[in-house]
C-alpha cells in the first residue's frame, strides 16, 4: 500500500541526542543507526532536525458533532498533524455530548476517515455533562472507540459522591477520570483570575481556591478508592503543591498543564480582548513559574493543549459575552520549546516524555508514545528547533482564529509528521492523510493501527 | 490632548512696533474711541483672549485717564470666542478661556471688541456670534493693534494701531508684558523656506 511506503530519515538528532538515521517501513521503525541504507526508500535529509515520538494530546476539542462551524474532526486533525501530533483525545462536550457508545464510535470513525491523526474520543462522566448521573462508561469502554479517558471537561464533577463512584467504576476497565477542577459555587459568574488585576478591571474573580479545593478533595478520593485520577489543565501554584503532596503519598494522580498557562498571565486581560478568555483563567507570574517548575520536576506529567476553537463571532464581543478557550494544537510545540526548553528547565528527552510517552500511557494508547527504536510504531515528529516563525491565526489549519499568541514570534517548527509510517506533514505542509485503503473496513477494526503490526 | 510642538524657527524676523510705538498707538485708539462715541457713555471694551484682553484693559485705563468719571475695571471685559470658531475641527483642541462681562452687562452698550491682530476676520466673526448670546449691544465696533490684511470675510476694523502689509508666509507676533513676560513688541517673522 502506498500509504505505508519506506522512508529513510537521515541525520536527525533522535530526541535531541546524537544524529542518527531512522528507517521506516510498513508503519514501523525498522532501524535506527548511522549510515543506514534502504533501496527504494524515500530519503529525507533531516540534518539539523530533531526526531521526536509523535506528540499525543490528552485534551483537544474537535467540536464535531454539533459545532462544525467551530471545528471538525477533519480540520482539527489537520491542525494536529501540522502541530506535530499523531494522536488527540477528543473531548466529550460535543453536541450531542459524547456520553454514549454511539457518539464516541462516530467520532472515532470520523478520525479514521480523516486520517491525519489518531482520534481517541473521551467519554463523558455524566449524562449530558449535567453532573447528575453516570453515563454508560462501560459501554463506551467496550465500544469500537475503546474509551479509556472519561471527563466532563468544561464542567466539574463537583458532586463528591458522583466523583467517588466514577473513580471506582472505571477501575473495571482501567479507565481514568480526567477532572475539570472548578468548584462551581466559588466561580459563579467568574470572568478571570481573582487578584490584583480583576480588582482593577472590575471583573468577577475566579479564585485559585476554586481549583485547588476540588483537586485536594479528588486526590483524597482517588486514594480512598485506589483509582486513577487525572487533573486537567492545572493552573495555579497551589494546585501544583497539592499534586506534589499527593504523588509523594503514592496517590495515582497525573496532571496536565496547557502551553498557554506556561506563559501567559492575567495582565493580558487588561486589554479586555476575549482572545485571552479561557477556562481555567490565565493566572499570575507566580503561578506560571510554579507550573513550569512542576512540569520540570515531574509533578505535572503532561502537556495538554486544551485546543478550543471558536467561531470569530464568539470572540468579537464583550468579554463577559465571549466564549472561553484558545486554539493550541499548532502552537503547542513552539510554546513549550520557548517556555521550558529555551529557559533551560527541560531537554528534548523530557519534552518527549511530557508530550508523547506520558499522555499515551495515561490514555492507554498502545501504539503511541513509544521510544524511537526498532519495532516501535512509526509515529514520529521532525522538528527544526532553530526555526523562528510569527503566529498568524489566519494561516492555521484549525478553523479557530482565537490564538492568544497571534503576532508573537515563536521558536521551533514542525517539518514532518509521520502517522503509522505515513508522512501526514512534509516540509511543514500537509501532505496526504494516512489511509489504509478501506475506510469502511477500518471502521470495523478495534484499532486501525493494530493492522500495521 | 497633546499639542504638536512648533517645529522650526523663522528664517528671519524684524521688530515693526516697539514698546513705545505700541503705547502711542493705544493712546491714539483710546482717543479715537472716545471721539467716535462722543464721550465715554455706555462704553464697554471686550478683549478677545489671549492678547486682546490686556489690550482692552490698557485702553480702558487710558480712557479712564482721559475721563475721570470712568472706572477702567468697570468697562473692560473678556470675551472668549473658542466655542464659536468655524475651525474647531481643523485645529488642535482649544480649551476655552473665561468670559467675563462688566457688571452692567452688554445690553444697549457700545461694545468695542479688542484684539491684537486682524487677519482673516474669522475670529471677529466668532466674536460677533458670541456677543449675541450674551446680550444685545446698541453698537459693536472693532479695535485692533495690527491689521495685516488678507481678509476672508467682509469685516473691517474701526480703529487700527498700525496697518502692516504682509505676505502669507509671514507671521505677525504680538508680545505683551502681561502675558509674555517680555517687553511689548510686534514682530514680523518670515517663515518662507
Amino acid at each position: 500500500m502506498s500509504t505505508t511506503g519506506s522512508y529513510l530519515i537521515k541525520g536527525a538528532r533522535v530526541v535531541g541526542a546524537d544524529a542518527a538515521d531512522l528507517l521506516v517501513e510498513n508503519g514501523r521503525i525498522t532501524g535506527v543507526g548511522s549510515s543506514l541504507q534502504a533501496s527504494g526508500a524515500t530519503v529525507l535529509d533531516a540534518d539539523g532536525l530533531i526526531a521526536l515520538p509523535g506528540m499525543v494530546d490528552l485534551h483537544t476539542h474537535l467540536r464535531e458533532p454539533g459545532r462544525e462551524d467551530a471545528e471538525t474532526v477533519e480540520t482539527g486533525t489537520r491542525a494536529a498533524a501540522l502541530g506535530g501530533f499523531t494522536a488527540v483525545h477528543a473531548m466529550a462536550n460535543s453536541s450531542p455530548v459524547a456520553d454514549t457508545a454511539g457518539v464516541v464510535e462516530q467520532v472515532f470513525a470520523l478520525g479514521q476517515q480523516a486520517g491525519w491523526a489518531e482520534v481517541r474520543p473521551v467519554g463523558a462522566v455524566t449524562v449530558g455533562l449535567a453532573g447528575e448521573r453516570l453515563a454508560e462508561l462501560g459501554a463506551m469502554a467496550d465500544s469500537r472507540a475503546r474509551v479509556r479517558v472519561f471527563s466532563d471537561d468544561g464542567m466539574c464533577v463537583s458532586d463528591p459522591v458522583l466523583m467517588r463512584r466514577a473513580l471506582e467504576y472505571v477501575k473495571a476497565f482501567d479507565g481514568v477520570i480526567a477532572q475539570h477542577a472548578q468548584e462551581p459555587r466559588l466561580t459563579e459568574g467568574a470572568q478571570m483570575n481573582e487578584g490584583a488585576v480583576s480588582a482593577v478591571l472590575g471583573m468577577a474573580g475566579w479564585p485559585a481556591v476554586a481549583e485547588e479545593s476540588i483537586i485536594a478533595r479528588d486526590v483524597l478520593l482517588a486514594q480512598h478508592v485506589d483509582s486513577r485520577l487525572h487533573v486537567c489543565h492545572v493552573s495555579t501554584a497551589g494546585s501544583v503543591e497539592i499534586i506534589r503532596w499527593a504523588k509523594h503519598r503514592g496517590i495515582k494522580v497525573t496532571a496536565e498543564v496547557t502551553p498557554h498557562h506556561l506563559w501567559l498571565t492575567d495582565e493580558l486581560v487588561r486589554s479586555y480582548d476575549p482572545v485571552f478568555k479561557v477556562n481555567p483563567p490565565l493566572r499570575t507570574d507566580e503561578d506560571v513559574l510554579a507550573l513550569r517548575a512542576g512540569l520540570a520536576d515531574g509533578t505535572i506529567d503532561v502537556i495538554g493543549t486544551d485546543h478550543a476553537p471558536h467561531p470569530s463571532e464568539a470572540k468579537e464581543c464583550e468579554w463577559a459575552q465571549a466564549a472561553m478557550g484558545m486554539t493550541g494544537l499548532e502552537t503547542a510545540l513552539s510554546v513549550v520549546q520557548h517556555t521550558m526548553i529555551e529557559s533551560g528547565l527541560i531537554g528534548w528527552a523530557d519534552f518527549a516524555r511530557i508530550t508523547s510517552a506520558m499522555p499515551a500511557r495515561i490514555g492507554r494508547l498502545a501504539h503511541q508514545g513509544q521510544p524511537l527504536e526498532a519495532g516501535s510504531a512509526a509515529n514520529i515528529t521532525l522538528v527544526d528547533p532553530a526555526a523562528r516563525w510569527t503566529v498568524d491565526p489566519a494561516a492555521m489549519a484549525t478553523k479557530g482564529r482565537n490564538s492568544p499568541f497571534a503576532g508573537r514570534e515563536l521558536p521551533g517548527r514542525v517539518v514532518a509528521t509521520f502517522l503509522n509510517g505515513h508522512p501526514t506533514v512534509l516540509d511543514g505542509k500537509l501532505n496526504t492523510p494516512f489511509a489504509d485503503g478501506s475506510a469502511g473496513q477500518a471502521a470495523g477494526q478495534p484499532q486501525a493501527q493494530s493492522r500495521e503490526g | 490632548m497633546s499639542m504638536p510642538s512648533p517645529a522650526q524657527s523663522p528664517s528671519s524676523s524684524r521688530v515693526v512696533l516697539s514698546e513705545a510705538d505700541i503705547d502711542r498707538a493705544l493712546t491714539r485708539i483710546a482717543h479715537e474711541i472716545l471721539e467716535a462715541n462722543k464721550g465715554s457713555r455706555d462704553l464697554v471694551l471686550m478683549g478677545i483672549p489671549r492678547r486682546g484682553y490686556p489690550l482692552a484693559c490698557r485702553l480702558a485705563a487710558k480712557i479712564a485717564a482721559a475721563d475721570p468719571s470712568v472706572s477702567a475695571a468697570a468697562i473692560a471685559g473678556q470675551l472668549d470666542v473658542t466655542m464659536f470658531r468655524d475651525d474647531l475641527q481643523r485645529q488642535p483642541t482649544r480649551p476655552p478661556y473665561p468670559t467675563a462681562l462688566p457688571a452692567e452687562g452688554l445690553d444697549d452698550k457700545v461694545v468695542v471688541l479688542v484684539d491684537d491682530v486682524l487677519y482673516s476676520g474669522r475670529t471677529i466673526r466668532a466674536a460677533l456670534d458670541a456677543l449675541v448670546d450674551l446680550g444685545r449691544p446698541r453698537i459693536v465696533r472693532l479695535a485692533v493693534l495690527v491689521d495685516r490684511g488678507h481678509r476672508e470675510l467682509p469685516i473691517r476694523a474701526d480703529h487700527v494701531g498700525k496697518n502692516l502689509p504682509t505676505s502669507s508666509v509671514e507671521k505677525v507676533r504680538v508680545r505683551l508684558a502681561e502675558i509674555d513676560q517680555v517687553a511689548d513688541e510686534v514682530v514680523i517673522e518670515d517663515w518662507s523656506e
Binding site: 464581543c317 468579554w319 463577559a320 | 485645529q91 483642541t93 484684539d115 456670534d129 450674551l134
Partner: protein, 348 residues
C-alpha cells in the same frame, strides 16, 4: 484624547484641563442662552445597554448645550436584545454618522472593547461599564470636590488640584465602578483616599491600591475627612451573603443621623457628603444627611452636565480625525499657563 474610557490613564494635566473647561461650561449654564455652537453638525449617540435615566439625560443635556445632534439608543427593546452584537450595533450607529458613542454597558470593559477593536472610528465615552469604571462620574465628583476644597482654602478652583484633601469612600467598593474611577482620579489630583467597607465588599487584590482600607466608619470619620462619599448599596447583596441584613449594614456602614452629628462633634464644619445617586435613604445614607447643608448631591448632578460638556467638547473638537497641521500656530494647552507659543489672529 481620542476616547474617555477610564480615569486610570488620565494624566493630571488632562484631568485639570477637563475640570477647567468644565468651569467655563458651568458659566455658560448660568447664562440666559445656555447653548454653545461648538459641536454643531456633530452627532452623539447615547448607546445604553443598561437603564440609567440620570446618566443618559445628563449626557443628552451636555451634548445639546454644545449644539450636537443626539440619538438615544436603548438596547432594551431594540435589535440588541434580539441578539445583535455590540460590533454590529456600533457599526450601524457609525454608518448613521455618529461622531461619538456614549456607551453604558453592564459588562466591564465593553467601552474599551469598542474603542480598541477597530470596529468603529468614533470617539468612545464610557458612561459606566459593569463594575469597572465610570469616568465622568469621577470627574464630576472631582469637580465638586475641587470647588469645595478651593472654597475651604479661599482660592479660585480653576487650575487647582486636590492636594492634601482627605476623602473617605464608603460602601460597596467591590461592585462600584464609581469607587474605582474616583480613586484613580482623586489620587492623580493629589487627594488622600480611605476606602471604608465590610471586608466582603472589598475586592481581593485591593492591597495594591493607593488608598487606606478601613472596616470601621466611625474610626474613618474620627480621622477628619474633608469629604465623605457614600456609595449605593443594593439590598440584594445580602442574598449573596455579602452582609447579614440591611439593618446591620446600615448600623455599621450607613451614614446615619448619629454620624452626621459626629461630624459636628469632631468640629468638621467644612466636611461635605457626596453620593453618586440614586440614594437608598435609610440604608447607606439617612434623609437628614442627604438633605443637610453638607450634602453635595444636587451640586453633583448639576456639575455632571458641565463635566460631560467639557469631555464631549475636548473629544469632539480638534483635528483628531483630520490631518495634523504641523505649521499651525498652537494655542496654549492650559489657559492659566504663561504663553510660550505666541499666537496671532487666525493663524491658518
Amino acid at each position: 484624547m481620542k476616547h474617555l474610557l477610564s480615569t486610570q490613564d488620565l494624566s493630571k494635566a488632562d484631568a485639570v484641563r477637563i475640570l477647567d473647561t468644565a468651569e467655563e461650561m458651568a458659566a455658560v449654564s448660568d447664562r440666559e442662552v445656555k447653548k454653545l455652537p461648538a459641536l454643531r453638525g456633530r452627532t452623539v449617540v447615547n448607546l445604553f445597554f443598561e437603564d440609567s435615566t440620570r446618566t443618559r439625560i445628563s449626557f443628552e443635556a451636555a451634548a445639546k448645550r454644545l449644539s450636537a445632534d443626539v440619538i438615544n439608543f436603548a438596547a432594551k427593546g431594540s435589535s440588541v436584545s434580539k441578539g445583535e452584537s455590540l460590533k454590529d450595533t456600533a457599526q450601524t450607529l457609525e454608518a448613521m454618522g455618529a461622531d461619538a458613542v456614549v456607551i453604558r454597558h453592564w459588562a466591564s470593559g465593553a467601552p474599551v472593547r469598542l474603542a480598541t477593536s477597530g470596529w468603529i472610528d468614533a470617539a468612545v465615552v464610557n458612561a459606566g461599564d459593569g463594575t469597572h469604571e465610570h469616568p465622568t462620574q469621577a470627574l464630576l465628583d472631582a469637580f465638586t470636590l475641587r470647588r469645595t476644597w478651593a472654597r475651604t482654602n479661599g482660592t479660585a478652583s480653576a487650575g487647582t488640584d486636590l492636594s492634601g484633601m482627605k476623602i473617605a469612600i464608603v460602601g460597596d467598593i467591590l461592585h462600584s465602578r464609581v469607587a474605582r474611577s474616583d480613586l484613580w482620579l482623586l489620587r492623580t489630583l493629589g487627594a488622600e483616599v480611605t476606602m471604608v467597607a465590610p471586608p466582603t465588599l472589598l475586592p481581593v487584590g485591593i492591597d495594591g491600591w493607593p488608598c487606606t482600607i478601613s472596616y470601621d466608619l466611625d474610626e474613618a470619620l474620627a480621622k477628619r475627612p474633608d469629604a465623605v462619599m457614600m456609595l449605593r448599596v443594593q439590598a440584594e447583596r445580602m442574598n449573596a451573603a455579602f452582609f447579614p441584613s440591611a439593618r446591620e449594614y446600615s448600623r455599621l456602614w450607613g451614614f446615619d443621623d448619629r454620624r452626621l452629628a459626629a461630624l459636628d462633634d469632631h468640629g468638621l464644619s467644612d466636611t461635605v457628603i457626596l453620593h453618586p445617586g440614586p440614594m437608598n435613604r435609610g440604608l447607606e445614607i439617612s434623609s437628614a444627611a442627604a438633605d443637610s447643608p453638607r450634602s453635595m448631591v444636587l451640586q453633583q448632578v448639576r456639575n455632571g452636565v458641565s463635566v460631560r460638556m467639557a469631555a464631549l467638547y475636548l473629544l469632539l473638537s480638534g483635528e483628531s480625525r483630520s490631518t495634523a497641521r504641523s505649521q499651525a500656530d498652537t494655542p496654549d494647552t492650559v489657559p492659566a499657563a504663561a504663553g510660550t507659543a505666541p499666537t496671532e489672529e487666525n493663524a491658518s
